[in-house]
Amino acid sequence: MNGYRGAPRFVPMAVAVMLLGPLLLSQSCGGGGGGGSGHVTPVMHFTCGGAVAASPDQISLSCPATSGSPMLVTVIIGGATTSTDIYGIKFDLVFSPTVMTFQAPAIEGTFLNQGGAATSIIAAPAPGDPGRVVVSITRTGAVSGTQAAAPQATVITLGFAATGLTGATFLTFENAEAVDDSTPTPTPIVSIGFTSSPLTVSFQ
């Protein structure tokens, strides 16, 4: 291999097309049952807390109090929003990679695709930073933005798998923005905020 490493080359290596409907992430138990050896394997699971109730114009995180792995974290937007032209939402979720890792695929919510709008979703860990998943979901094409009705709507659901190590982590937003449907470049909507209260997740 030669030394040049500055120019990316991109070859599509796999494209799969399927209905999203069946793509519900299966919930699995965190541990196995006891065997015949006489000792008991403890059941490992996530516990999650710190979620705040949805409020208008606020995007926040929600999670089940206890969960096997993977754990599904839901991003919700409180309504009714002031803005009626929300076109896209982006954010990073930051967490400790020693406790959990992002697990694709992300599952689209019911907010940005309402009315049958086409959407694009990209969610992937930042290169070299497994504790940061960079997420964006946006309407796609020359369509108007939309509004979240009260009390709330689901933006997206993200799965996190346990690494197997026990421990705790915060799950927080960074680099977060919601944008409108301005052309050619959607503009940040200052009235849409992202909660500063982190989720507290532990695996034990």
Binding site: N2, P8, R9, M13, L20, A104, V135, E174
Partner: protein, 674 residues
């Protein structure tokens, strides 16, 4: 630089309605594998307008010699051999022709090294490949003076061939065959071949063109049509009117009709030209319209040896004919005509091309050739029937001699002529990448369903005199392909294995008594898809001077070789081995720092960082996705089009741009590019 791992990357493109498309994209390949590797040069053709042929010059044109000369006269099966063709030679060249160290070979092995597959004795070859499965092949041959089988089929992509018997004509039209042609029909399993058969009555000069059809992928054949004119019929070819789904025109009135062409010569004096004809035949074999396309000089001569190419309109056929200048046999004219309404309209002499043909006159015969044999002075024509931007373009391949006055120099090059206006005007260029100083000839052409242009040709390699430019000891066969209408070409690849290098007598034998025995007037390359993979087959004529076939006369034999064309992954016309950014469309190959890495690749991160402010500063994220999404589905000229988001600059913001952005997701942007 770290690459995005495919395992954790997700792009969901959700379309309207309840169905949601999930597009998982993995663009994990690193560039390092390409960096610093020696890349073949880009082979760009330099087109220039072709000189128009003044109509005044057409009155001085004469027919080129018929192809049957040198085929019909000498031998029939069971007849005695001509001394001049017997081996070893009796001519003045024999001292150099006494067998050398290599022992005579009775017959080439049935499976050659590599993918060369020996089919049979013979020097003229035609090939048809199935429309839905390019592993299904039918080959028609002139088997020297052997009468059968003349027809073979392969169901496994040239791994093995099964001999068939080409159908006879009615009555006594059961004699030997020559002048093969082949084409698929419009449906899977539907194949056609044609040959001309001699009358088996010894005193008869009559020959008939016979069209054979197979509806079962070449397993069984029957005669669909026979041209019954009492002539010496010569140089038959045909084409099939395509359905719209196969690239033909809208409307189905003429779908499936067959356009047969042939020349007619007097049975009394074989080389007395009578006329050329287009016979339209129904899909079921009924004679429909006949058009007299050419008459002798002075009475409506439009050339001979007319190749029909079904056009992109229903019932449209282009015809390319050949003629020679009366006063200078070195000058070849290709003349173009158009038939409409499946024969109801005929426009002769729409345009012409003129050039000196490859090779030289063979002694004082007036025949033209190389390596002691006559060669075809005409060319091959095809049309782009794809749905792409070059649909309707006509392509003509010819072999030309730029040194016709100096036989010590290169005696042949392959030229491509292109017409974008239905054979009214032409631009032309030499195919780039031909070996300099060597003679190329017998150019073969096929334009596949995607509009790719496949070319194969022979090349003299070595010789005792002038490096064999005129008379060679050895020759090889080469293949190249263009995916952008002939502007750029793949590296030329040798077709034949080293064991199948053509070995000629050098100096050549004196074949004047046999009209210099024409070989190579029918050789074909045909391309298609097998299992989704693009493939091309070259059915060609080998030559091995030590070999004696069953008639102990000629060293020629038919070989089929399968080629896998180079990939053009990004569709920019540059094949991957030559492309400085093989997976992103960059036909201009811009490279600002001349490091061999195209700007489109090297600077893609910079370009993809459409929004370089705020939280997206020096990073690819949602702020870069939003404007792309906003422009998604738009093309240049649309109000919504945003060129900065057209990351693969094909003029539209589409899934490919989205996939590129996804492949760079969350990358930092360290490189400064223009």
């Amino acid at each position: 630089m770290r690459r995005v791992s495919g395992a954790g990357l997700l792009v969901v493109l959700a379309l309207a309605g309840p169905g949601v498309l999930l597009v998982a994209v993995n663009f994990a390949q690193d560039s390092a594998g390409h960096a610093g590797t020696k890349r073949p040069p880009v082979l760009r053709a330099r087109f220039a307008p072709a000189a128009s042929v003044p109509r005044s010059s057409l009155s001085s044109l004469v027919p080129v010699p018929p192809t049957f000369a040198g085929k019909l006269e000498p031998l029939r099966r069971g007849e005695s051999r001509s001394p001049a063709l017997a081996a070893p030679e009796q001519t003045g060249a024999e001292s150099t022709l006494v067998p050398e160290a290599s022992p005579p070979m009775a017959s080439p092995p049935s499976v050659k090294a590599g993918t060369d597959i020996f089919l049979a004795d013979g020097s003229e070859t035609a090939l048809a490949i199935d429309v839905s499965n390019a592993n299904i092949l039918a080959g028609a041959l002139n088997q020297g003076y052997l009468n059968t089988p003349s027809l073979l089929n392969s169901s496994n992509g040239n791994v093995s061939w099964v001999p068939n018997v080409f159908p006879s004509g009615a009555g006594t039209i059961t004699g030997q065959t020559f002048d093969p042609w082949g084409s698929p029909g419009n449906s899977p399993g539907d194949l056609f071949t044609s040959l001309i058969r001699r009358d088996s009555i010894a005193a008869s000069k009559v020959t008939h063109m016979i069209l054979a059809h197979s509806g079962d992928s070449g397993v069984s054949w029957s005669r669909l049509f026979e041209v019954n004119k009492a002539l010496v019929q010569d140089r038959d070819m045909f084409d099939v009117d395509r359905t719209a789904t196969r690239g033909g025109g809208t409307g189905a009135a003429h779908d499936g009709k067959l356009y047969l062409t042939y020349d007619g010569f007097s049975t009394a004096t074989q080389e007395a030209y009578v006329a050329s004809y287009l016979q339209v035949v129904s899909p079921t074999g009924a004679a429909l319209t006949e058009v007299t396309t050419s008459l002798p000089p002075g009475s409506g001569f439009n050339g001979t040896q007319m190749q029909p190419v079904a056009g992109t309109l229903d019932g449209q056929v282009y015809l390319m004919s050949v003629a020679a200048a009366k006063t200078d046999a070195s000058v070849t004219y290709l003349l173009f005509h158009e038939v409409t309404g499946a024969g109801t309209g005929f426009t002769a002499l729409k345009s012409g091309l003129v050039f000196p043909a490859a090779g030289q006159q063979l002694a004082t015969s007036g025949r033209w050739g190389l390596n002691g044999h006559r060669i075809d002075t005409g060319g091959q024509m095809d049309i782009d029937r794809s749905s792409g931007p070059r649909r309707g373009n006509l392509y003509v391949l010819s072999s030309r001699n730029l040194h016709s006055a100096d036989p010590t120099q290169d005696q042949g090059d392959i030229w491509l002529s292109i017409s974008t206006d239905g054979a009214v005007t032409w631009n032309e260029a030499m195919i780039p990448g031909l070996a300099a100083g060597k003679t190329q000839f017998f150019a073969m052409l096929d334009v596949d369903d995607d509009g790719w242009i496949h070319v194969a040709y022979y090349q003299n390699e070595t010789g005792l005199t002038d490096n064999g430019v005129l008379n060679a000891s050895t020759a090889n066969l080469y293949y190249t392909v263009s995916s952008d209408g002939g502007l750029t070409w793949s590296p030329h690849t040798r077709v034949n294995g080293s064991g199948d290098t053509l070995l000629y007598f050098d100096p050549p034998r004196d074949l004047s008594a046999h009209d210099y025995y024409l070989i190579g007037d029918y050789d074909q390359v045909r391309a298609g898809r097998a299992g989704g993979i693009k493939v091309a087959y070259v059915l060609w004529s080998g030559y091995y001077k030590y070999r004696t076939d069953i008639f102990q006369d000629h060293g020629d034999y038919a070989i089929c070789t399968k080629m896998t064309p180079a990939l053009d992954s990004d569709g920019d016309g540059l094949f991957d081995p030559q492309d400085n950014c093989p997976t992103i469309y960059n036909p201009g190959q811009e490279d600002f720092n001349n490091n061999g890495i195209g700007d489109i690749c090297e600077c893609l991160l910079t370009r993809a960082n459409v929004d370089n402010t705020g939280s997206s500063l020096n990073r690819i994220d949602g702020s870069d996705l939003f404007p792309l999404a906003r422009a998604f589905g738009s093309c240049s000229g649309d109000a919504a089009y945003n060129a900065s988001t057209d990351l693969s600059p094909q003029g539209c913001v589409d899934g490919y741009d989205l996939a590129i952005l996804a492949s760079l997701w969350a990358e930092s942007v360290p490189v400064t590019c223009p």
